[in-house]
């Protein structure tokens, strides 16, 4: 099953490699990983999407907690949560495709950030599956480049992760 782990970690050199090293050393999957400092500059927040049985994810959580620089770990998928990912896509946009591409971006509530006479760069946010849906909706030959951030997540309502 897919799990989203939110991790508060000391904003120190080497913390990221400790965490990614743990995943590779113990053979756990990383689907995606994002990290940036929080409002408290001494701490970073990381979102890791991983796939594993409940037993494996329990072990991952325990092993993460064991790392000295990890302050807190929460499995967001245990409760209600919001998940968002950002994607930038550069697509070919010329001739009859140009109008169609604009329409498609509108349907997916994408924004066109950059325009040349041959291409659009579109910004899309949503769950991973929404971004996947956009990719499948357009012809593969039209895509020039994509970049995705991986998921970020936050608990719904009163579910708060802080120290």
């Amino acid at each position: 099953m897919r799990h989203i782990l939110s991790i508060l970690v000391e904003n120190e050199a080497g913390a990221l490699s400790r965490i990614s090293g743990l995943f590779s050393a113990r053979g756990y999957n990383i689907e995606s990983l994002t990290v940036a400092p929080t409002e408290d500059a001494t701490m970073s927040r990381m979102t890791i999407v991983t796939i594993g049985s409940d037993d494996v994810v329990e072990q991952i959580t325990k092993q993460l907690n064991k790392l000295v620089e990890v302050v807190k770990v929460v499995d967001l998928t245990e409760g209600n949560h919001i998940e968002r990912e950002l994607m930038l896509v550069k697509v070919r946009a010329s001739g009859k495709d140009r109008e169609e591409m604009k329409r498609l971006a509108d349907i997916f509530r994408g924004r066109i950030l950059d325009v040349t006479d041959k291409s659009y760069t579109i910004e899309l946010t949503g769950t991973g599956s929404k971004l996947d849906a956009f990719i499948t909706a357009i012809e593969p030959g039209v895509i020039l480049e994509t970049v995705r951030t991986g998921a970020s997540g936050i608990g719904r309502g009163e579910r708060i992760l802080r120290i």
Binding site: V9, E10, A13, G14, S17, R18, G21, A25, D55, E58, Q59, K62, Q63, N65, K66, V68, E69, V70, V71, I163
Partner: protein, 568 residues
């Protein structure tokens, strides 16, 4: 007054109460060595290889319950130390390793004797630090000692660039430190303990399975009290030997791959199992799927939550210091009106006695060749079971574990997790340093001993009267045993050709060497060796080449699928 980084390092060690530092100098740590030279409070032990330094610090720690300290230089000093660090990590030994590093401005420049120490050691330390500013040095060293000894202990490394040892700052050593990200759960959950006690009191076929965690947490008295209070059988892991007295009638012997028949059978057939400071290691329970077929409830006490339900699902997890949890358990049992089910226990002990009748540790006592088991039994007799025994890795290690009956904790020192050949001799040095009046023997084999044999020189320099008991079968015995059982007797590269004359070698290092070739000479040689209280003695026992370790659970098999000596 301002102190240099090098002065601070030595002052920190002194203020931490460190007695010995095991190390080897080199370019990046010269400033620190210069400060060591100028004082007497912290004594330095010069080894002959950095691996030996870390193993010695390890043996020092295991035999004394203090934090071991090693000091090595950058680059090759560090890479040589890695085996020792990984050994300590696998066995949760509290240790601080100080490493020199090239100056901060040279880091990343492929400088002479540079390596990414923090990167290389990251997977085999509890934590590590690179100190980039002398102002952080004292606090970092304090943190290292705190982390090493608290929670689940382990090695912590502090990497110190040379310019940091030159720079100056005001010195103050913090009395305590706290890290907001590090708060191990140390007190067991009372509700869980209550549940566990109820399970124990209701048990019909209970089993106590105790490991190295009991020794690390100094909980042997509590374990012994609990076991006697309940009247249950108790087994110890390789790491746990001495946690419960080896000569006690309630002790069923070590369990696992080379454990006793009765312990392994009881593990599989019990209805309530309490695991205490043990981690269901593959060498202990064999195939977890086979093990899980047993219909039993499991209680697991451990300081490390990640050790719980890692390989085997447990019913009552209790996270906390073993000693405290056992104290609470004993209190609750004593206050309970309920007593263990005497009739059920009687029947269960009858089963165990039946298994014991197999006499799984019997061997040919009338052989014309020296049986390695006999050497260990005679070693046990002459040291009255009260020596500190270190070992290397292989058959000799298993025989020492099986035939030397450890009644006290911290008397059996071996590399259980990583299985590091070369561990025994330097670990014995550390143990002898920590316990100058104790009898220390290193049980080894002719293959293992050669992996750190240079430390015989350290033994000479510091007058360490260690007795090296070399069970010399001219084979890498455990490798040969596996090749005999599982590889059609094809002894690929396991024969030890061109062995040195160990007697002459010992003499060359300035020690006494004895070669023993007949069973009748074992007693005399041991008596002679142990009479030499001031000398290192190398006893080279020429043992039966074909002897194997029994019982044996082949790798990947179930715990009860044992090969016994008589079955071959």
């Amino acid at each position: 007054m301002e102190l240099t980084g090098a002065e601070i390092v030595v002052r920190c060690l002194k203020d931490e109460g460190v007695e010995y530092v095991f190390g080897y100098p080199g370019g990046a740590v010269l400033n620190i060595y210069d400060e060591i030279f100028k004082q007497d409070a912290v004594k330095h032990v010069l080894v002959r290889h950095e691996q030996g330094a870390v193993h010695a610090a390890d043996g020092y720690s295991r035999s004394s319950r203090k934090v071991g300290v090693a000091l090595v230089t950058s680059g090759p000093g560090v890479t040589n130390a890695v085996t020792g660090i990984a050994t300590a990590y696998m066995d949760s030994v509290p240790m601080v390793v100080l490493t020199g590093q090239v100056p901060t401005h040279a880091i990343g420049q492929d400088a002479f004797q540079e390596c990414d120490t923090v990167g290389i050691t990251r997977p085999c330390v509890k934590h590590n630090f690179l100190v980039k500013d002398v102002k952080d040095l004292a606090t970092t060293i304090k943190k290292a000692f705190y982390l090493a000894a608290s929670g689940r202990p382990g090695p912590v490394l502090v990497d110190i660039p040379k310019d940091v040892t030159q720079a100056s700052t005001e010195y103050s050593y913090p009395k305590t430190v706290s890290l907001r990200s590090y708060n191990p759960v140390t007190k067991g959950h009372l509700g869980q303990i209550k549940k566990a006690v109820q399970l124990l009191l209701d048990a019909k076929r209970p089993m106590i399975y105790a490991g190295g965690g009991v020794i690390l947490n100094d909980a042997a008295p509590q374990l012994t009290r609990l076991t006697r209070l309940l009247g249950f059988p108790c087994t110890n892991t390789l790491m746990g030997l001495g946690a419960f007295p080896g000569t006690d009638p309630q002790f069923t012997g070590m369990l696992g791959m080379h454990g006793t028949y009765e312990s392994n059978m009881a593990m599989q057939h019990c209805d309530v199992l309490i695991a205490i400071g043990a981690r269901f290691d593959d060498r202990v329970i064999g195939d977890p799927a086979h093990f899980s077929r047993g219909d039993r409830r499991i209680i697991h006490i451990d300081i490390d939550p990640s050790s719980i339900s890692k390989r085997v699902k447990v019913d009552v997890p209790i996270v906390g210091y073993v000693a405290d949890v056992l104290d609470e358990m004993i209190r609750q049992i004593e206050n309970s009106p309920q007593r263990p089910d005497a009739a059920a226990l009687k029947a269960w002990w009858a089963d165990i006695k039946e298994w014991q009748r197999k006499d799984c540790l019997k061997y040919d006592r009338k052989s014309d060749l020296i049986k390695p088991q006999m050497v260990i039994e005679k070693l046990y007799a002459i040291t009255k079971g009260d020596a500190i025994i270190t070992s290397d890795v292989g058959q000799h290690q298993m025989w020492a574990a099986q035939y030397y009956r450890f009644d006290k904790p911290r008397r059996w020192i071996n590399s259980g997790g990583l299985g590091t050949m070369g561990f025994g001799l330097p670990a014995a040095m550390g143990a002898q340093m920590a316990n100058p009046d104790a009898t220390v023997a290193c049980v080894t084999g002719e293959a293992s001993i050669q992996m750190c044999i240079q430390e015989l020189s350290t033994c000479k320099q510091y007058h360490l009267p260690i007795k090296v008991v070399n069970l010399n079968n001219r084979y890498m015995g455990m490798v040969r045993q596996w090749q005999e059982f599982f590889y059609g007797n094809r002894y690929a590269e396991s024969y030890m050709d061109a062995l040195p004359d160990f007697v002459k070698l010992a003499e060359a290092y300035g020690h006494v060497g004895l070669r023993i070739e007949k069973p009748g000479d074992i007693d005399g040689a041991l008596a002679e060796a142990f009479k030499l209280k001031e000398r290192t003695v190398f006893l080279d026992f020429m043992t039966d080449q074909t002897e194997n370790v029994f019982p044996m659970v082949p790798g990947g098999k179930g715990l009860t699928e044992m090969i016994l000596a008589e079955e071959l």
